[in-house]
């Protein structure tokens, strides 16, 4: 494989390292590139023992973009599991569907641990997610061991080290597990902060606050000046409009909308509704003026009629 790739490419360099790091299977996960393609990997992960996925070993593909690790990997499961759809890119905040939250210092191992960490969480309609019943999941976990992957010639029964008797339910690497929790937690906190404040903007330090405690005495700037500078910190809208990487992911947006629909804060008026309401006001105003014209016309008609009538009466009188 070494000869086939440009070792100067940062992605190749990095993936070679990751392949070496992940060469030996652990009891929780294993992943290696396909023989003929460094940018496509196959992985196996063990279902957490404290969940409906206990006893399951699940297989899948990881597709790395040429820009890796600047861009995230895509993850696709090949074993039916009841949590992630088979054959479809799945949606973790770590995978290709959330390029804006991917961190270049994460690795394939981070992704594997995130998958394991995500299995027992709720799908909640996210892309590629399934919410099967516990019974179905347990049945699939049992069945998963029979899977054999022809592409990488591995059987799920032997893909991972056998679980040790007193094993942790999840990957032994405490740090990595913490990371996986962070990832899932992050997705949650984001949605919460969005529905709470609509726009969660990066906090801004006012200069008065951000001086380190020791440096404060030496502050030469007059107070007005500081106030001025703090008012110059970027307005949220300006901050938002610059970076193309900034917008919320579609999934977050949908989740946000779903939440809005479900929960208390009344959704902002839809443009159509506004238009309709405006049309109504306009309509009422038009109806009013039409009525006024009608009344005035009637009054005029009555006056003219009376005039004619009076004139005729006069004429009649005259004749009489």
């Amino acid at each position: 494989m070494e000869n086939k790739y440009n070792l100067k490419s940062p992605a190749v360099k990095r993936l070679m390292k990751e392949a070496a790091e992940l060469r030996e299977p652990t009891e929780h996960y294993h992943a290696q590139p396909l023989e003929d393609n460094l940018f496509e990997w196959h992985f196996s992960v063990r279902g957490p023992s404290d969940s409906d996925f206990d006893g399951g070993v699940y297989h899948g593909r990881i597709v790395l973009p040429p820009e890796y690790p600047m861009k995230p990997p895509s993850i696709i499961l090949l074993t039916a599991n009841g949590r992630f759809e088979v054959g479809k890119k799945i949606c973790l905040s770590i995978s290709g569907h959330h390029p804006e939250t991917w961190q270049p210092s994460w690795s394939i191992r981070t992704a594997l641990i995130a998958i394991i960490g995500f299995m027992p969480t709720k799908g909640e309609g996210a892309i590629g997610s399934l919410d099967y019943t516990p019974e179905e999941r347990r049945a699939l976990a049992k069945k998963s061991q029979d899977f054999f992957c022809e592409a990488c010639a591995c059987s799920m029964r032997t893909a991972l080290l056998p679980p040790s008797p007193n094993r942790d339910p999840r990957p032994e690497d405490h740090e990595a597990q913490e990371l996986a929790q962070q990832i899932s937690f992050k997705a949650d906190s984001r949605q919460v902060s969005e529905s709470a404040g609509a726009t969660s903007d990066p906090p801004t330090l006012s200069p008065a606050e951000n001086s380190s405690p020791g440096a404060r005495d030496g502050s030469e700037e007059p107070l007005e000046d500081q106030a001025e500078v703090s008012s110059l910190s970027p307005p949220p809208s300006a901050v938002r409009s610059e970076g193309p990487g900034r917008p919320l992911s579609p999934r977050q947006r949908r989740a946000h909308q779903a939440r809005q629909r479900r929960e208390t804060p009344p959704p902002p008026p839809h443009p159509d509704a506004v238009r309709r309401a405006l049309a109504g006001v306009r309509g009422r105003r038009q109806a009013g003026s039409a009525a006024l014209i009608l009344v005035l016309t009637l009054v005029l008609a009555v006056l003219i009629f009376r005039r004619i009538y009076l004139a005729q009466e006069y004429k009649l009188d005259y004749e009489l």
């Binding site: 490419s9 940062p10 990095r14 390292k17 990751e18 790091e21 600047m70 569907h97 390029p99 804006e100 939250t101 991917w102 270049p104 210092s105 892309i127 962070q182 937690f185 992050k186 906190s189 984001r190 902060s193 990066p202 906090p203 801004t204 330090l205 006012s206 200069p207 606050e209 951000n210 001086s211 380190s212 404060r216 030496g218 502050s219 030469e220 000046d225 001025e228 500078v229 008012s231 110059l232 910190s233 970027p234 307005p235 809208s237 300006a238 901050v239 938002r240 409009s241 610059e242 970076g243 193309p244 990487g245 900034r246 917008p247 919320l248 579609p250 999934r251 947006r253 949908r254 909308q257």
Partner: protein, 268 residues
């Protein structure tokens, strides 16, 4: 731009399943296109230009900006622009500082020592060594390049090589994140939304294209012990440009121009 996209996606909220997936990919593709458009019209780091190029960027009758540009002229003569891709602060800082090291071997040695040690600090904080070492190596390569006293064009060339340039940005982001987390007791007070410092770093510091605010600047300035002066130019009244030095009271080495959402490099 971001807002527009959000607007246009609103009616799609009702879509489901397969359509969603296609729609997501369409959005990602659109974002890529926008990024490419920005990329073709702006180099990552531009040549040094006379400051008066700024005047042409604003209408003549835009008196607020024209006055402020005049004010800027009193102190600076040149500007070097960076690509507005959300990484501009790190790129501007990185280039500007390495450029200054070409003529200051004493600071170069100090900085090299700090940079060399920084990887160990990050590993001790829990960053995975094999994932951060490529970024660190690229950063060190550039510092070593400066030691060889290359022409400015060579340094500029490296900073315009997307691979190299982005790796430097990643490493500066990691240093910022590492410092914020090390000093979390202090920085926690400035983080809104009930997030921990670690969450803030994972959401606003480490991912690429996340923009920088005061908190990022002060952390990076302190992590590397390099003083940064930022001139703030926006629509505020007053006709003068205000500046702020990070950390406060230090003697600035790096001069940056901030306009809402973007940083460029200034030269005296």
């Amino acid at each position: 731009m971001a807002e527009e996209k959000q607007e246009s996606s609103r009616p799609q909220g009702e879509m489901e399943g397969v359509n969603c997936l296609a729609y997501d990919e369409a959005i990602i593709a659109q974002q890529d296109r926008i990024q490419q458009e920005i990329a073709t019209s702006n180099p990552l780091v531009s040549d040094r230009q006379p400051l008066k190029v700024l005047q042409n960027e604003y209408a003549k009758e835009d008196s607020i900006y024209q006055l402020k540009i005049k004010d800027l002229h009193k102190k600076y003569s040149y500007i070097r622009k960076t690509r507005p891709d959300g990484n501009c602060f790190y790129r501007a800082f990185g280039f500007s500082h390495l450029e200054s090291l070409l003529e200051d071997s004493k600071e170069l040695q100090r900085f090299k020592a700090v940079a060399t040690k920084s990887k160990l600090d990050l590993v001790n904080e829990g960053f995975t060594e094999f994932t951060i070492e490529d970024f660190h190596n690229t950063f060190m390569d550039l510092i070593e390049l400066c030691e060889k006293q290359p022409g400015l064009q060579e340094l500029l060339g490296s900073f315009n090589d997307q691979n190299v340039s982005d790796y430097v940005v990643v490493y500066l982001r990691l240093l910022t994140s590492g410092y914020l987390q090390r000093e979390h007791g202090f920085f926690q007070h400035f983080i809104e939304g009930g997030r921990s410092v670690k969450e803030f770093c994972q959401q606003e510091v480490e991912p690429m294209s996340k923009e920088s605010d005061h908190i990022h600047i002060i952390a990076l300035a302190q992590a590397l012990n390099v003083s940064i002066l930022v001139e703030y130019m926006d629509r505020g009244e007053g006709g003068t440009v205000n500046h702020h030095v990070f950390p406060e009271g230090s003697v600035p080495r790096i001069f940056l121009l901030y306009r809402p959402g973007h940083y460029d490099i200034l030269y005296k």
